[in-house]
């Protein structure tokens, strides 16, 4: 029983907007399964009193003063945009593929 099903891989691919072929679904399912099983080994050594760790450094409350700092100019901001219209980033139609 693989750790992740073919359908789950297909779902993830769709969420990530990746085009995955039928063959790739099988390949990735087994590869991701190996990764998940490997990561699951952490659970074997972590005792029940160790909370899931998201940050490796024991830091909290790193705050910035509420003071304006210079950012980019409009020209700089738009420089790398694939398309620009009216000083805005132009993007392809947003809805359509699903509705």
């Amino acid at each position: 029983m693989p750790a992740i099903s073919r359908d789950e891989v297909a779902h993830l691919a769709r969420l990530a907007r990746l085009a995955v072929t039928e063959e790739e679904l099988d390949t990735f399912a087994s590869q991701l399964g190996v990764i998940l099983e490997s990561v699951a080994k952490v659970g074997e050594v972590a005792a029940g009193d160790i909370p899931p760790t998201s940050h490796a450094v024991p830091l909290t409350n790193v705050f910035r003063a509420d003071e304006v700092r210079p950012g980019l100019t409009q020209r700089e901001a738009l420089a790398a945009a694939p398309a620009v219209e009216e000083n805005r980033f132009r993007v392809p139609r947003i809805l359509g593929e699903e509705q």
Binding site: N61, G71, F89, R90, V91
Partner: protein, 501 residues
């Protein structure tokens, strides 16, 4: 579009179903800078001029939390009677939508900074309805999309969209209620009253502009119906961005009638986002709601946890203002107003302005009179809210002072106010520039009175014959001659004096 929607009579809906509401309010904080970078947050800037590598999601840029925004979040939580988390994290909410250039929104997921609170909402008839608060969490606002090519500027049918990221990253607090049950027929009113009370509270906390028209306060209304007396909630819809108090009420009412018609016709409600149309007061289907796990939330690795010390939380609790409704009760007593008078002031949005004018030295009666008569008229003429008039309470107090000390008559004072409204400067500057001072030179006034009497011998005769009210014509002539800059009462006295001499 709305003509195609089947609606059930509101009373019939209530006879069959119990409404359940859930309100999500997004508040843009009025901090100087964004949530995770130092870009300014001002409204209305040229597109893409308030951006930096962090809020544009450029590679290598790292976020740093705005401490002031955390402080505001905690104060909001405390004002909503919430618990404040001892330790919480930010999380990435992943989705593909160009309103966040990062392809995720930095938000909070299962560890909101504030949770389990309530807000007591006073309804129109004075009854209190308690709305339980599920959570208030910190996140960032999205950019603004302009949809091009669609018939109505909406996303549907648009050929492409244009993005301005000035707003992307502006600190946002999302306040979520627990399911509001038991409101029955008053559900639309409760929804409106809740948003209204929340707006007042946030304004009193001075954490946000709370301008629904500018989007700094936005409400999403979740509505569902369950069979009367049942306890299993029906499928809900979420009506997005309802941007006025009146719309909140209308949107809830419309959804109740629409869902009632669907359900009683044997249909089922689709869980979806709906769009509220201001002009027709109806909602229409938007995108299907993605389920929670589709966002693949995970703890934000680039930000360390927020762990507000209890000392800090208590210190912030000490900064909470008097609650707006308690303040209103106190003010009503202090100003000696009836409920109706107070309601008029509230409806006109005048209470804070009057209070500030009183604070600046004016009597409450004078301050009230200025704001609800002349200034309200001017606001109406301009089609603006009273508070949007370009005159401050301090300036109004100064005008009142000028009248009290006899420098201006009421008529001249109105001209002084006109000058301030026209951008001519402070009241004293307007008075000087327009030469508005009362003619208090008695000899000049006497001369003007004599001249007017001489020019109207018949009127003078009438007054002499005892018809004192005829003096009005002479007073009018003198006022005209002095361009309205005389004290009419004094002129009248002088007229009577002159004819009896």
């Amino acid at each position: 579009m709305s003509a195609l929607v089947d609606l059930m009579d509101y009373d019939d809906v209530l006879a069959t179903y119990d409404p359940v509401l859930g309100l999500e309010v997004h508040v843009e904080l009025s901090t100087n800078t964004k949530m995770f970078c130092g870009c300014p947050t001002d409204f209305g800037g040229e597109p893409n001029t308030q951006v930096c590598p962090t809020c544009l999601g450029l590679p290598g840029a790292l976020p740093v939390v705005n401490g002031k925004a955390v402080e505001s979040a905690i104060r909001i939580g405390l004002a909503l009677n919430c618990q404040i988390a001892e330790w919480c994290r930010f999380a990435r909410k992943n989705y593909f939508y160009p309103d966040q250039p990062k392809n995720f929104q930095t938000s909070q997921y299962d560890e909101p900074i504030a949770f389990d609170g309530y807000l007591d909402v006073v309804l129109e008839d004075g009854e209190t309805f308690r709305v339980d608060i599920e959570r208030a969490h910190m996140e960032e606002d999205t950019g603004k999309s302009l949809h091009v090519g669609g018939a109505t500027g909406r996303i549907h049918g648009a050929a492409h969209s244009l993005l301005d990221y000035n707003r992307a990253g502006v600190p946002l607090i999302e306040i979520v209620t627990k399911p509001i049950v038991g409101a029955g027929e008053r559900a639309p009113e409760v929804a409106r009253a809740y948003v209204s009370a929340l707006r007042d509270l946030l304004r009193a906390l001075d954490v946000s502009d709370v301008r629904m028209d500018q989007g700094s306060l936005r409400c999403d209304a979740n509505v569902s119906l369950m069979p009367k007396g049942g306890d299993t909630f029906g499928t809900r819809t979420e009506t997005k961005n309802v941007n006025s108090l009146r719309s909140v009420e209308r949107a809830v009412r419309f959804e109740m009638s629409r869902q009632g018609a669907v359900l009683s016709g044997g249909g089922s409600i689709v869980q979806e986002t709906r769009h509220f149309d201001e002009s027709s007061g109806s909602t229409s289907a938007g995108r299907r709601k993605e389920t929670s796990e589709d966002y693949r939330y995970f703890p934000e690795p680039d930000l360390v946890p927020v762990a507000p010390s209890r000392e800090w939380v208590e210190e912030l609790r000490g900064t909470l203002p008097e609650l707006p409704w308690e303040r209103r009760r106190r003010i009503q007593q202090e100003w000696d107003l009836s409920d109706a008078e107070m309601r008029d002031l509230l409806n006109a949005g005048a209470v804070d302005l009057i209070a500030a004018t009183v604070e600046a030295g004016a009597s409450s009666a004078e301050a009230r009179s200025w704001w609800v008569s002349y200034l309200l008229q001017q606001a109406n003429l301009r089609g603006e809210e009273l508070a949007a008039l370009p005159i401050t309470p301090v300036q109004v107090a100064r005008v009142i002072e000028l009248v009290t000390t006899g420098t201006l008559t009421n008529k001249l004072a109105r001209q002084a106010v006109d000058g301030v409204l026209a951008g001519e400067g402070e009241p004293d500057e307007v008075v000087a520039a327009r030469g508005l001072k009362v003619v208090s030179d008695e000899s000049a006034l006497r001369t003007a009175v004599e001249a007017a009497l001489a020019a109207n011998p018949d009127v003078a005769e009438k007054i002499r014959g005892g018809k004192v009210q005829a003096a009005g014509a002479i007073v009018g002539a003198v006022m005209k001659a002095t361009k309205g800059q005389a004290d009419a009462k004094r002129v009248r006295e002088l007229v009577i004096e002159a004819v009896s001499a």
